[in-house]
Amino acid sequence: MAASMIGSKVERKEDKKFLTGKGRYTADITLANQTFAYFIRSPHARAKIKNIDTSKAKKASGVIDVLTAKELNEDKIGGLIAGWKIVSKDGTDMKIPPHPALASDSVNYVGDHVALVVAETLQQARDAAELVKVDYKVLKAVVNTGDAMNSESIHDGIDKNLSFDWELGDKAKTDEAFASADKIVKMTLTNNRLVPNAMEPRASIGDFNPSSEELTLYTTSQNPHLSRLVMSAFNAIHPEHKFRIVAPDVGGGFGSKIYPYAEDVVVAWAAKRLQRPVKWVCERTDSFLSDCHGRDHITNCELAIKNDGTVTGLKVDTIANLGGYASLFATVTPTYLYGPLVLGLYNIASAYCNVKAVYTNTAPVDAYRGAGRPEATYMIERLMDKAAKEMGMDRAEFRKKNFIRQFPHQQCLVHNIDSGDYEAHFNRALELSDYSNFEKRKAESAAKGKLRGIGFSTYIEACGIAPSAAVMSLGAGVGLWESAEIRFNATGNISVMTGTHSHGQSHDTTFAQIVADKLGVPMENIDLVHGDTDKGPFGMGTYGSRSLAVGGTAIAKACDKIVEKGKKVAAHMLEANPDEIEFKDGEFIVPNSNKKKTIGEIAFACYLPGTYGEIKSPLPEGVEPGLKETAFYDPVNFSFPAGSHVCEVEVDPTTGETKVDTYTCVDDFGNLINPMIVEGQIHGGLAQGIGQALYENAYYDETGQLVTASYMDYTMPRADNFPEFRIDYTCTPATSNPLGVKGCGEAGAIASPPAVMNAVIDAIGTEVSMPATSEKVWKALKDKSDTKKKAA
């Protein structure tokens, strides 16, 4: 045990169950007497509901009930909420339309939840659903982000479909920078809409116990404690102390499972109302339609530049699509998770960012891997690339010239960045990607009739969400601290309770490594408990790369408390002074003696005083029995991971096919607990980011039908779309948490879209928008050559 577990590539504890098919997901749970639920969803993007006739369906074989807004209202179940208040620049609060858990008089996107059929079998529920008659008055849908403000209002009282018109930064100072600029570079960018596509579709099972009056909801959540809070406090389904939420194994979330959905609310309520377990499992098509989507911005941006290449000002003007309603984190994603990050890792003295958030008849848009930060990074990195080209400067040199060099660095917008060394990872990325020989490779490609391009991207994120004082001053409904409990059992093994949730992040392993390291207990004797509101302390869940920086720190602090107490007990047993006891590798030692106790012996003695070894007496005076400690941690600041990525693509000009030939990333995540797990997180993030750049697009037609509602039309990237990734790290430890960690969960998805797009544009020599599908690249090349021909 002497070797430190922190920093070592320990195999994942969770692999055994997942790789042998023994994961236990919500859909795997079967309760006695359970019923099956099927949601009737709107086939229209925008319509008024004139009438819902459930009479036939209610009489169908096996049907227990058909529930609609009427029954929801009878039981006074509240609607869904938006959790972060944004104030517009004119001082007015954001405008939030009602979002009932079952549509009462209107529907606002295809897939909007209208009614629930509960039957003895799923088959019967689906058959009966076909008998429910919903009388719709179809209205013209508002679909496009760019058109929303010029279209008819879809929600009563929300003029121009505008939820808020928010600003950040010093406008006057920024205007001055532009007035005195030598060169101004502008561009318009679209950040495409994405479907999160967790491998496991959403599911929930409600179970009411009429004896104890407890309501249990098993659900696919990244954040069970917060779900319980929201569902008891706002939806008023059941009081919190009688409400248990269990998120067992969850097969990926990427943000889309942070918040409680209408389906969770309705299923939990239905189980209570019908007094029988109700099980609902989302089908893939419904998941495309009704999971919150990600991104969907249109941005105009411009840079003010001096002749020597110094960037002095940045203006960003974004329209962000919220979809049909404002989901829980929908309003913070395009504002505080986006605006403060638009500066990238550049030292820009002035900036102004304006974001208008609009409603459209599309699925709600909320946090998706990176949440705001990929949009910010895409904007600044595409703009920096274009600026370098227009300035006639090398794109790498232009970036380096503008890097922040001294830390801590107070940015002109919000963040105070504690640590970093941007040139270190950038230079390493240039080296690892063999930038100096790029021209040679380009010539080789040309000889094969292919076009080769290289693209750079650097990024910074604000992770470790979030210091409560900071986020509450920015409008958050709650602070985002984290909790942990270390519970020794008498026989010396440990249950670690965390308020975070693991759904692919490998917390079972990473957190156990921290505990193993801190307490000197073997990994196999440490069990992580999460995802059950009845088992662990309240916590804020997993997203925003916060679990390790915030939750991991809480665990480390609870371990310290265990050691403190252990020292007192050991001193008593060893007849020494607590102050002189040293703790190392799982042993309490009296220095310069052979007197020592293992932590296991101490645990046993704490639970069974008087029965073990020398300690025939009770515990030392003032020490309570048991060995269990709780810690809460609220960080002093965000953590700021950063990095540099380099992508090389090869394009076949005859078909427009674009292949990512090499991909290099050098990231500074601060200290790494398990580099293998970090690498896995990078791979996943890159897959999603490269997916956004080249393949993925949630496409609604003009009537608001989602055309890409299955894998036949929504292009998920596959393993053969990627090269071997070249991965390396630099390290400047975070100063905002004692582990010195910064977070790595989103970096790949944040950094890669601009790296890929800058490479594609470099290869073809003309603009193209995301996703750069083969057709779009072919068309861009064709238009370029047609224009040339015309000019000639």
Partner: protein, 262 residues
């Protein structure tokens, strides 16, 4: 999925006897089952034909290769006889879907379903195949009649496909990036008498591209196609590819097919 009666049959006769207006045959189930699960189709009776032994097998006989309807894509891809006789046919099978689809999906299922973006129909047309059914033999060009439509009558079962062995041939698929079915698939087969070029994915049903055939009959070389420019007005257009793009892809796939012919 809606409830149905399930029958497992052992012979072609038994299968056709059970068939009715409300029945369907189940082969690999790769297309049928998802469509039933999504309630796009439903049947009173599902007749599982997988146990019909006579529908399996690969035979090379003189100038043709005969492949039983139940033969899986993976078996065609792995067959040394097929690879030797018509290299491109094994290559086509190898490029269908993923391992799971190839280990379940069948030749008979593929051509009976006649998806406009499926690969096998192009092989049938380019290799001048004859479709053997439970009641007759049909030329491929008369078999594929429209989108998801064939000349099969209700209860008629495909038993085998007889492909003619060309001098050389090649199939090039430009996959739809999402489904990886053919966005455009071009099958070129050079026979002693003629060059045949079948195109899938570009119209509602597989067809022969006369412009390409004409150019290649004169001169079987890539450069013969340099000057071919196809009109796009009769081609499919969707979110993945406009008709204009498809027209260009057909020519570039055809050039790659000529270059890759063996």
């Amino acid at each position: 999925m809606k409830a149905f009666n399930f029958h497992e049959v052992k012979s072609v006769k038994e299968a056709t006897k059970l068939a009715s207006n409300k029945s369907t045959f189940l082969a690999g189930g790769m297309t049928l089952i998802p469509s039933m699960k999504m309630r796009l189709s439903s049947f009173s009776d599902v007749i599982d034909i997988k146990e019909i032994k006579e529908l399996y097998g690969i035979k090379v006989k003189g100038k043709s290769v005969i492949i039983g309807a139940n033969t899986k894509h993976a078996d065609v891809a792995a067959s040394k006889e097929v690879r030797k006789a018509v290299h491109s046919l094994a290559g086509l099978a190898e490029g269908i879907g993923d391992p799971q689809v190839r280990n379940c999906g069948t030749l008979g299922g593929s051509i009976s379903n006649n998806d406009p973006t499926a690969c096998y129909p192009s092989a049938c047309i380019a290799l001048d195949a004859t479709i053997h059914t439970s009641s007759r033999k049909v030329e491929a060009e008369k078999f594929f009649t429209g989108m998801f439509e064939t000349s099969l009558k209700k209860g008629e079962l495909v038993t085998a496909v007889e492909f003619q062995i060309p001098e050389k041939s090649c199939y090039i698929k430009f996959p739809n990036p999402a489904s990886r079915y053919a966005m455009v698939g071009v099958y070129i087969a050079k026979f002693k008498k003629e060059v045949r070029c079948a195109v899938t994915g570009a119209q509602s049903v597989v067809y022969r591209c006369k412009e390409i055939e004409k150019a290649l009959n004169n001169n079987f070389s890539e450069s013969a196609l340099d000057s071919v420019s196809l009109k796009s007005s009769n081609l499919n257009s969707d979110i993945h590819a406009s008709a204009e793009y498809r027209a260009s892809l057909i020519v570039s796939c055809a050039q790659k097919a000529v270059a890759g012919s063996k």
